[in-house]
Symmetry: C2
Subunit: 197 residues, 2 copies
Amino acid sequence: MLIVLSGPSGVGKGTVRQAMLADDFRDFQYSVSMTTRKPRPGEQDGVDYYFRTKEQFEAEIAAGQMLEYAKYVDNYYGTPLKYVNKTLDSGRDVLLEIEVNGAMQVREKCPDGVFIFLTPPDLMELKHRLIGRGTDSEDVINKRVKQAAQEIKMMENYDYAVVNDEVPKACKRIERIIESEHLRVPRVIDKYRNMVN
Amino acid sequence: MLIVLSGPSGVGKGTVRQAMLADDFRDFQYSVSMTTRKPRPGEQDGVDYYFRTKEQFEAEIAAGQMLEYAKYVDNYYGTPLKYVNKTLDSGRDVLLEIEVNGAMQVREKCPDGVFIFLTPPDLMELKHRLIGRGTDSEDVINKRVKQAAQEIKMMENYDYAVVNDEVPKACKRIERIIESEHLRVPRVIDKYRNMVN
């Protein structure tokens, strides 16, 4: 099963994803993204990202090998199809943590994925978090909040909305969604059809 | 939210429903059925069933006041609409535990309900359970098993399939389904729309 975790900038997608992966009881594979940006100190190829040149990345796009991708500030970021398919074929769940535009690209290609939208408890808290980072100017913050309002409107394209009030709570909600989705009839009907034939 | 628990005869719907209601942490209202059969010793009107005469029951049907109903062995059984709507209006979840034919009637009237199909781990176990009751002849058992096979085919009309291998496990699965369904975007989108406006 493909699980897509997305949501507005600053909502804490990365933190929730890391917390979920830190728990050994959750059996799924995180899909490492591909990027053309330079590795930061300590970042490893194949662990934090697959680091590629612009030419290599564009070759992957041209070959239809990217499940989704986008360009931010002159760098490409995206999800290589190959690793996702390999994991799904092995019967394990795959977790993607991506931006909303990327999630919509995945939705088109994989409509039977589970699309989870991580939301701030309210817009004011999103504002506080961005200020808390201390790295952005007021203009940047206002722009991000406005953008978040637009992105929240995108929520209607998702299956679930999970509030990120506290990271462990958000993880628990996502865990339950995953467990419940595994019980959905379209995902299991064939197993049951075999039972009575 | 309307939760419909259904499944083949003998699968243990009643036991699972009772176990769920016995847990005080689960905040939902069980919808008491209406019937024309005579009360058994100890059964209370309004608790085990609403006991009504055939004429009273048929008047409810004629008035469109039954969410679903069926006739078994000359007696009517059904779900009165009034109590379900009253509970839903108060913001609480309603749990119905009904036969598969009744569930399909509810599906038509309440497509946004959550429809859960309780299944035996396999057909042989269903057979054992029926034999375990010790009240049915072999013919009756074979007929019921055949009927169950047909009913399992009805599973495709449900949202979720929950295996009743052990009652506490089945309850936990249903509990998670209920929690996850409360996070589904169509159920919460209005709350979020208000957040950004």
